[in-house]
């Protein structure tokens, strides 16, 4: 066992085990033999590339690594995130590390009174969607992109915001849209409109903000900062714990430091 432990892969560098099966993939047309089971991202690194673009979180959330590929002999064009997609034999791939999109500037205030109208003025092209469904097919997050675009057109911004929430802004949808729409930049704005105008504000937060700004807690915090560690530990051990399933708005017994 001790001997094998030396095999431990260092960080993210792939060290295939003895006898690992190698399969051919084609990075922008050139063939490389790489161990099976890797993601596209790691296979490309295994082939000897060091990423500058096209790699961010390596965990499926930043959208830096959109990729198009075909399997040789199959006409279908497929897409995915390079850090989340496992290689297959004879995969021919190219990453799309950047795609120019339309993202006009704005001020959130412009959407206070008539969000739908203001949105239409800012993103008129969104209203010219031809309903081809290509965006939905390419989305690596399985979002029904065409549907959120339709919801935006109809003015159901709340629904559109919720439907587009998982978007990682990889840009693949925009890269294939025949109507030249930048779907995900419009969705970004719609989510902000939803968060700011279409969802009720937290009243308890407003009140707490005022309390903080009045300097109420600075006094209490000064008291804690000046306390010897032993006294602090005692307070720490005696804290009352809010029950996991308490109803919202729960109050502790001791309300002297709220």
């Amino acid at each position: 066992m001790k001997e094998e432990i030396k095999q431990l892969s260092v960080g993210d560098k792939t060290i295939p085990p003895e006898g690992a099966k190698m399969i051919p993939i084609y990075i922008m047309g050139r063939e490389y033999l790489v161990p099976e089971t890797l993601t596209i991202l790691k296979a490309v690194e295994y082939a000897g590339y060091q990423y500058v673009r096209g790699c961010g979180c390596r965990g499926g959330i930043c959208g830096a690594c959109g990729v198009y590929y075909r399997i040789m002999g199959d006409y279908r064009l497929r897409s995915g995130l390079a850090c989340q997609t496992v290689i297959q034999p004879n995969m021919v791939l190219a990453q799309l590390p950047f795609f120019p999109v339309n993202r006009p500037g704005y001020n959130m205030e412009d959407f206070r009174d008539d969000p739908h109208g203001a949105l239409r003025a800012l993103y008129p092209e969104v209203f010219k969607c031809v309903g081809c469904g290509t965006c939905t097919r390419v989305c690596p997050m399985d979002i029904d992109v065409m549907d959120y675009i339709a919801l935006i057109k109809r003015g159901n911004l709340k629904k559109a915001a919720e439907k587009s929430f998982d978007c990682v802004m990889c840009g693949l949808c925009a890269s294939r849209c025949p109507a030249q729409i930048s779907q995900f930049t419009a969705a970004m704005l719609v989510r902000r409109i939803n968060g700011r105008y279409l969802t009720p504000k937290a009243q308890h937060l407003k009140k707490r903000k005022e309390e903080v700004e009045s300097g109420k807690y600075e006094v209490m915090l000064k008291e804690l900062m000046a306390m010897p560690v032993e006294a602090l530990k005692k307070l720490y051990m005696e804290r009352e714990r809010e029950p996991d399933l308490a109803p919202p708005g729960w109050m502790p017994q001791d309300t002297s430091h709220l």
Binding site: S9, V86, R196, V212, M220, L221, W250
Partner: protein
């Protein structure tokens, strides 16, 4: 997709063989005995990477000379510059601005927005794309005492307790006092927090909290916050974002003030000088240094660059000896390596098992103790499981969850994890996961005060690159908060400072030359070059053919 290999499937049979009895015992409330306090200390000392003597060494140069830190950190602190100072023409600056912000994650972007609010011109230079950062990866949530039954007072106690009372009090006070303001700011910018229909914010407990204080936006809180901040920054004309332009050195003036930086265009390989009146460092963490070879949850650019830059300019660091490992990072399949498997899985009853399907520890020890137990089982006892790509791990028996709480619990309680494994042909409600500790968070960093000022006039720092807020140990949900609180504070403080400071005094890189001399004097001749900017995962056989 194939799921587990036939070899691993064979090993899973051993887990299945012991499962009925283990579930029976768990139903009776029997569990593997937790370690005693003495054993805990011993296990930590012998197996936890933070406590082990090996893998650490003494720093020989610079402001933290004499400290004993992980080797990988010492190597980048004791490093040479990427540039030869004498070849840089400091007579003319390629770009000029009021405030230069280095790092486009949560901290840097928050600072930029505040500086813009105060009428300053900002250049935000970042290494990858704007937002490619650790901030975007945070899933769990952000803490703030927004509820009536809670207050910054209790938040303070929780933060201090979590950090074993080593935190810097004035930093903690700033953190918890500003917290509700941060949530309000985010709500106002349109962040879609989880809410009740009447607008009340939903909150949950996190490890070590006495009040439910964790706010979230689905299971992608960091991504939602980051994309809103970035979107807002794009609306501001005075914020100029430069992507793929990491800073490689700070610039000082003859009065000993920080006055800009040298940026490196990763694509054209050009160096640019940027002259500014104040600089904010917000470069994030160091997960990609892979301390002691550990995989990491961090993004691609987490290579400790900011620490290196500041250190060369004479700024001290603190708490870098304390690294946060998360006990359960995925090691299989390869595409999930480093992926965080939340504590919740163990909270719901899943046990940790060795290659023989035996329990070897109590599954809910504190994070650091749990990590030590797993490392011990693999490296000392030798009962780990080897993956086809040469990684080692133990089983996390997630199928127990449905057996204990009813069919469908895994899918309902852990939807994101379920999908992430299902994608690769593994149904975690039926098959266990393979896990090992993973490098998660840089507890320590650059020393700052409650305004984010460093000991170098004109240099500010915010976020994961700094140390002291969390002491030796951070609680979940407090670092998203940290980056926004101190990002905003530095943005405001630097803006005030810019109004006072005169543009005078030549720029210099003498601090770099002095550092090089110090290296030489200490007999360090083969110092590596840093900041390293991008990790290198080129396999050895390719490297051997590259002749560089």
């Amino acid at each position: 997709m194939s799921g587990y290999t036939p070899e691993l499937k064979e090993l899973i049979k051993r887990v299945e063989a012991t499962r009925p009895q283990r579930v029976e015992r768990a139903r009776r409330g029997e569990h593997f005995p937790p370690l005693s306090m003495e054993q805990r200390m011993e296990w930590l000392k012998r197996y936890h990477p933070d406590y082990k003597e090996e893998g650490r060494k003494e720093v020989r140069v610079g402001p933290n000379k004499g400290d004993v830190l992980p080797e990988e950190i010492v190597n980048v602190l004791e490093s040479r510059s990427r540039i030869e100072p004498e070849r840089i023409d400091l007579g003319r600056a390629d770009l000029e601005t009021d405030i230069l912000i280095i790092g486009g994650g949560g901290a840097g972007t928050a600072a930029a927005l505040m500086a813009d609010n105060m009428g300053r011109k900002v250049i935000l230079a970042t290494k990858l794309r704007h937002g490619d950062s650790n901030t975007i990866m945070a899933e769990g949530g952000i803490q703030a005492a927004t509820q009536e039954g809670d207050s910054p007072y209790y938040h303070y106690l929780d933060v201090m307790g979590g950090g074993h009372f080593t935190n810097k009090p004035e930093l903690v006070a700033a953190l918890v006092n500003d917290a509700p303001l941060i949530i309000d700011w985010l709500e106002d910018m349109g962040v879609m927090f989880n809410k009740y229909p009447d607008g009340r914010l939903m909150t949950r407990h996190g490890g070590g909290t006495c009040r439910r204080r964790m706010h979230s936006a689905g299971d992608m809180t960091g991504a939602e916050i980051m994309r809103v901040l970035r979107d807002e920054a794009r609306n501001r004309e005075n914020i100029k974002v430069m992507e793929f332009s990491p800073a490689v050195e700070l610039l000082l003036d003859r009065k000993g003030r920080c006055r800009g930086a040298i940026l490196f265009n990763l694509e054209t390989k050009e160096y640019y000088t940027v002259k500014a009146r104040a600089v904010i460092l917000a470069t994030g963490g160091f997960g990609r240094l892979h301390i002691q070879g550990f995989p990491t949850t961090n993004h691609y650019g987490a290579t400790a660059d900011g620490l290196v830059l500041a250190y060369r300019a004479g700024v001290r660091t603190c708490f870098l000896e304390a690294t946060q490992y998360h006990p359960t990072g995925a090691v299989y399949p390869e595409q999930n390596v480093g992926l965080l498997i939340t504590e919740k899985v163990r909270g719901l009853g899943a046990q940790l098992l060795n290659v023989d399907g035996e329990e070897f520890c109590f599954p809910l020890e504190p994070r650091d103790v749990e990590s030590a137990c797993i490392i011990r089982e693999c490296l000392e006892v030798g009962k780990g499981i080897m993956t086809p790509t040469g990684r080692i791990g133990v089983w996390l028996d997630s199928p127990m969850i449905d057996l204990l709480h009813g069919e469908g619990t895994v899918k309902k309680e852990l939807p994101a994890k379920y999908i992430q494994f299902k994608r690769y042909g593994i149904d975690i409600s039926k098959e266990p996961m393979l896990v090992y500790p993973t490098l998660h968070y840089q507890n320590g960093g650059i020393e700052i005060n409650e305004f984010g000022e460093t000991s170098l006039p004109g240099l500010y720092a915010a976020g994961e690159v700094t140390g002291g807020v969390h002491g030796k140990n951070r609680l979940m949900g407090n670092s998203l908060l940290d980056v926004l609180v101190f990002g905003r504070r530095t943005g405001m403080k630097a803006s005030e400072y810019v109004g006072r400071v005169k543009d005078e005094g030549e720029l210099t890189l003498e601090h770099v030359e002095r550092f090089h001399e110090e290296l030489k004097a200490a007999g360090i001749n083969e110092a590596p070059v840093a900041p390293i900017l991008l990790p290198d995962y080129t396999p050895d056989h390719v490297r051997a053919r590259q002749f560089r």
